[in-house]
């Protein structure tokens, strides 16, 4: 922001291209891996891997394309907090579904 007026460069064109390369490779890996049966290693492995790659991609986009790396703590905080809140929503909704069968209300 204001203080950063001088350091416009951030990572420069080579940097941006590198991030781009990571994204493309990430996409390619996701695509290929989706056809392997990793679930035989442990159930959900496919999902886990796909999401892990997606998270990595998101992180580099946020850090470099969205310049979070050079931003104030507040921006960091809001980025992290929003995912934390998503997590709350997912976790507390799913805790109901995961435990329903064993409960008395079971379907």
């Amino acid at each position: 922001m204001a203080e950063n007026h001088t350091d416009h460069e951030h990572i420069g064109i080579p940097g941006y291209l590198a991030v781009f390369a990571i994204l493309i490779v990430g996409t390619w890996i996701t695509y290929v891996v989706a056809f392997w049966d990793l679930d035989s290693i442990f159930p959900g492995a496919n999902t886990l891997l796909a999401l892990a790659i997606a998270f990595t991609k998101m992180t580099v986009v946020m850090l470099y394309f969205m310049h979070v790396r050079w931003s104030k703590e507040l921006i960091w905080l809001s980025a992290v907090a929003s995912f934390f809140w998503l997590l709350i929503m997912f976790a507390f909704t799913m805790q109901d579904y995961f435990t329903r069968v064993s409960g008395v209300f079971s379907a």
Binding site: M1, A2, E3, H5, H8, H10, G12, I13, Y16, L17, V19, F20, L23, I24, T27, T30, Y31, A34, F35, W36, D37, L38, D39, N46, T47, A50, L51, I53, A54, K57, M58, V61, M62, Y64, F65, M66, H67, S71, K72, L74, I75, S78, A79, A81, S82, F83, W85, L86, M89, F90, T93, M94, Y97, V101, A107
Partner: protein
């Protein structure tokens, strides 16, 4: 400290400084925090959909895998790449705006818009294919076909899953003749996964309840779960596409501003903010692609 400008008088010493601020730094910081708060809001907005996706994918993994297998991973992948490229050009737009390089800025904005449009174009192709194949979950919104083309095959009254099509395996979106006089949702690609899953004992108890009637696999019930997948698919990608369209609008405005040479090393925050928005939309797709198009592929291959 800069001179304060009166509201009635728009000649600022610094370009674009609004009356309520003391200086440019304060304004830029405000705008940037505001934008991030907006993005937080957007994340929660899509979050509701992801929650729904999660619940039902957990409940009906096989139906979701089936549904996802009939999205076209090629087009989806292509679109991912297209969007990533547009993100790159967007990032470069900001870069050139900061450098005050008008021409490169304009070029990058045009490229970004171009890729954005390509993305939407591909979506149109995909949606059309769903329309033609009877995969839009809303009754009456699919292509209506009396099935004259296949009448001779005497399948006019067959159950949909009995219509043999090769498309289930080929899966590259060529049109397959089918009968759908009222344009209903028509899942006619069989239920291979369930057959396999039945053998392998994969099905969860919950799935059994929801796919089975009287202990036997019930294609009707299965079809409805697949339909649910397509509902979620259309809402998620539809909202995403809506965001793309809004994004294109913003980019058009930006293009005009950049053309006029508004942005410089001193004043580029509109470019930066539009960039944040564009990247956000990209990030949503980064998740949509594997979740909708890819998960469950390995069951078949």
């Amino acid at each position: 400290m800069s001179t304060h400008a009166d509201a009635h008088d728009h000649h600022h010493h610094e370009p674009g400084l609004q009356h309520q601020f003391e200086n440019m730094g304060q304004q830029e910081e405000s705008v940037s925090i505001g934008m991030w708060m907006f993005l937080v809001q957007e994340i929660m907005f899509f979050g509701g959909l992801f929650t729904a996706y999660m619940v039902y994918r957990w409940r009906y993994p096989m139906a979701f895998a089936e549904g996802s297998n009939h999205l076209d991973a090629f087009w989806g992948g292509l679109n991912t790449v297209v969007l990533i490229v547009s993100s790159l050009t967007m990032a470069l737009t900001v870069y050139y705006a900061q450098k005050g390089m008008r021409n490169m800025q304009v070029l990058m904005i045009v490229l970004t818009m171009l890729f954005g449009t390509v993305f939407l174009g591909v979506k149109v192709v995909e949606y059309t294919d769903k329309y033609n194949s009877g995969l839009i979950p809303v009754a009456g919104w699919n292509k209506k076909s009396t099935g004259a083309e296949v009448a001779e095959k005497a399948q006019a009254f067959a159950f949909p899953w009995e219509i043999k099509t090769e498309a289930a395996d080929a899966g590259h979106g060529e049109k397959k003749p089918y009968i759908n006089p009222r344009g209903d949702f028509q899942w006619n690609y069989g239920h291979k996964l369930v057959e396999q899953a039945e053998k392998g004992g994969y099905l969860t108890a919950d799935e059994k309840i929801h796919y089975y009637s009287d202990g036997r696999f019930d294609p009707f019930k299965f079809q409805e779960k697949v339909r649910m997948f397509y509902f979620i698919y259309f809402v998620m990608t539809g909202l995403h596409a809506l965001h793309m369209i809004v994004g294109l609008g913003i980019m058009a405005w930006l293009l005009w501003k950049a053309w006029l040479g508004t942005f410089s090393a001193l004043y580029y925050s509109p470019v930066e903010m539009s960039g944040l928005y564009w990247h956000f939309v990209d990030i949503v797709w980064i998740f949509l692609f594997p979740l909708l198009y890819l998960l469950g592929r390995h069951f078949i291959h």
